[in-house]
């Protein structure tokens, strides 16, 4: 495997947590199968110091090299119309075996058009599995498998990166990177930003979604009530409480958490397929039951347990 490209989603000047997880996963694959990890950093016009700061974070997460394109065209939301040509340019130059997008919606927008353009397989809401294959007397080889559920939820699909003749484009679930893999130093290569093929769309208005964090969460707590202030204050980064509704909103539809926990006192139904997001294979489903009839009971109990555990381990969540 020659190279892996990890797309970096930058919001409000920072690399998103799912993006850091994507780099960490690329690093894990590269270490097992032998590859160079390129992080692609599309940015609007920003000072060089900020580019270096972002590149350092990406590098610490596990990238070997950072490719950066800084242009007014890339300042807005990541759309295929504006960002697609840059991705195609990188794919044409590096011929990567794997192109990984983070959870949060950017993969839905950029992944399928890129896959069609370069004739690649596309694996949405994917989990990466690395399996050792015995080849006695030769050393064992590492198989890199990308797994996903069919939307119907009936079977899984598995793509073996080595078996397929083409590149594989995938959007990963939002896991939480648990360690640093690299040094906060990496070579930055600046790329020109290609002109869009179909002209520039005109942005007329933009409204921030107050629930935007939901799309990026790695741990989603489904509850009948909004998070109590006591619980909200103790939740670690990447964790959100989402109210169970009759359907998903835009942010929840884009989410692909690695862990999903339902707060339930047993008197309410759990989330249905419509109410809960699709999960990647291997995602953890938890149910926190409480005998308390008061639906706020679970939140108070969980908040207390978090406080107790944080105090005992001397690790106060950020």
């Amino acid at each position: 495997m020659a190279s892996i490209v990890a797309y970096m989603d930058v919001r409000e000047g920072a690399i998103t947590l799912p993006s850091r997880f994507v780099v960490a996963e690329a690093r894990r694959v590269a270490d097992a199968a032998g590859a160079t990890v390129y992080a692609l950093l599309p940015l609007g016009p920003v000072p060089q110091a900020q580019i270096e700061e972002l590149a350092a974070a990406v590098s610490a997460a596990g990238a070997d090299r950072v490719l950066c394109s800084s242009d007014e065209l890339l300042a807005g939301p990541a759309l295929d119309i504006t960002h697609g040509a840059l991705l195609a340019q990188v794919a044409e130059r590096l011929h990567p075996r794997l192109i990984l997008f983070p959870a949060g919606g950017v993969g839905v927008e950029l992944g399928p058009p890129l896959a069609i353009r370069i004739g690649a397989a596309y694996v949405p809401r994917a989990a990466i599995d690395i399996r050792e294959e015995e080849r006695t007397p030769d050393p064992p080889s590492q198989r890199v498998l990308l797994q996903r559920w069919r939307a119907a939820g009936d079977v899984q699909r598995v793509v073996d990166v080595e078996d397929i003749e083409h590149a594989v484009v995938a959007t990963l679930a939002a896991g939480a990177p648990r360690t640093t893999y690299g040094e906060s130093f990496s070579e930055i290569e600046m790329l020109p930003c290609p002109e869009p093929k179909y002209g520039r769309p005109r942005e007329l208005a933009s409204v921030q979604d107050p629930n935007a964090d939901v799309a990026l969460c790695s741990f989603m707590i489904l509850s009948a009530l909004p998070a109590s202030p006591a619980l909200q204050a103790k939740l670690p980064p990447g964790t959100v409480v989402t109210v169970i509704g009759s359907s998903l909103d835009a942010a929840a539809e884009a989410a692909c958490p690695h862990q999903l926990m339902t707060l339930s006192d047993g008197s309410r139904p759990g989330p249905s397929a419509v109410q809960s997001p699709w999960l990647a294979p291997g995602a953890e489903r938890l149910r926190l039951d409480s005998a308390a009839p008061d639906p706020e009971g679970e939140m108070a109990g969980l908040a207390e347990a978090l406080e107790r555990l944080a105090a005992s381990s001397k690790k106060v969540p950020a």
């Binding site: 990541a78 927008e109 399928p112 690649a120 003749e165 083409h166 942005e203 670690p236 884009a254 953890e284």
Partner: protein, 227 residues
């Protein structure tokens, strides 16, 4: 303005229903053409197309098609857009079956048109001819863009509702126009299934949620992370 809405046959996905709803919301300025490719000529897709007051209903069927894959569907739907003179194509973002979301991208690629995903609303531009104003959800924001047509807009499976009957249009008996590959100017040799791009099917079942105590849940939540 001719608006092509793509529906899976026989049962359209939730996302396709949402696309049909957005098309209806464009009002009398839009001539809606519903199209399906492969599958039967009848079914729920036809009922919904008729209920939505579609001006025309197209079905692409050919013995060679069987269950067309995403590449073939994209090619067929792009040809249907050309055939019908559509300047705006609305599709569901992903099906309820395979659910990769590749058909809209393949459609746009074959139509040589730009694509925008995660569309929440669309209206005719009041300022620019031959353009629409589309609201998309991107980067945690609801963003309104003016985009020139032709354009492909794909709609997520949220806020989907079954289209109501258009009282002004008695389309309940709207006939289905059947199209073959040759009528669309396509040679059979262009239908090349690519099952290898889908991956191998592996039997699996969605596991049930594991009950945890408050302390277990807290311990899982507080696992150390890079952040």
């Amino acid at each position: 303005m001719i608006v092509l809405v793509c529906l899976e046959s026989p049962n359209p996905s939730r996302a396709s229903c949402a696309a049909l709803s957005l098309a209806r919301g464009l009002g009398p300025a839009a001539q809606i053409i519903a199209v399906s490719a492969g599958g039967p000529t009848h079914g729920r897709w036809l009922d919904l197309a008729r209920q939505s007051g579609a001006h025309r209903i197209l079905h692409i069927g050919d013995a060679i098609l069987g269950h067309p894959d995403f590449l073939t569907l994209g090619m067929l739907l792009a040809e249907a857009a050309r055939y019908s003179g559509a300047s705006l194509v609305l599709t569901g973002q992903s099906s309820d079956g395979e659910g990769q979301g590749l058909v809209p991208a393949a459609l746009a690629h074959n139509l040589h048109a730009p694509i925008m995903s995660r569309i929440e609303a669309v209206e005719v531009s009041q300022e620019t001819a031959n353009a629409v104003v589309a609201t998309t959800y991107a980067d945690g924001r609801h963003v309104r863009f003016e985009v020139a047509m032709p354009v492909v807009l794909s709609v997520p499976p949220i806020l989907w509702v079954l289209p109501g009957t258009d009282a002004a249009t008695d389309a309940s008996q709207q006939a289905v126009e059947s199209l073959t590959l040759s009528q669309l100017g396509l040679d059979q040799s262009r239908v090349v299934p690519r099952p290898d791009l889908l991956g191998t099917r592996v039997p699996a079942t969605v596991g049930k949620a594991r009950p945890v105590s408050f302390d277990e849940a807290a311990a899982i939540l507080l696992r150390p992370t890079l952040a």
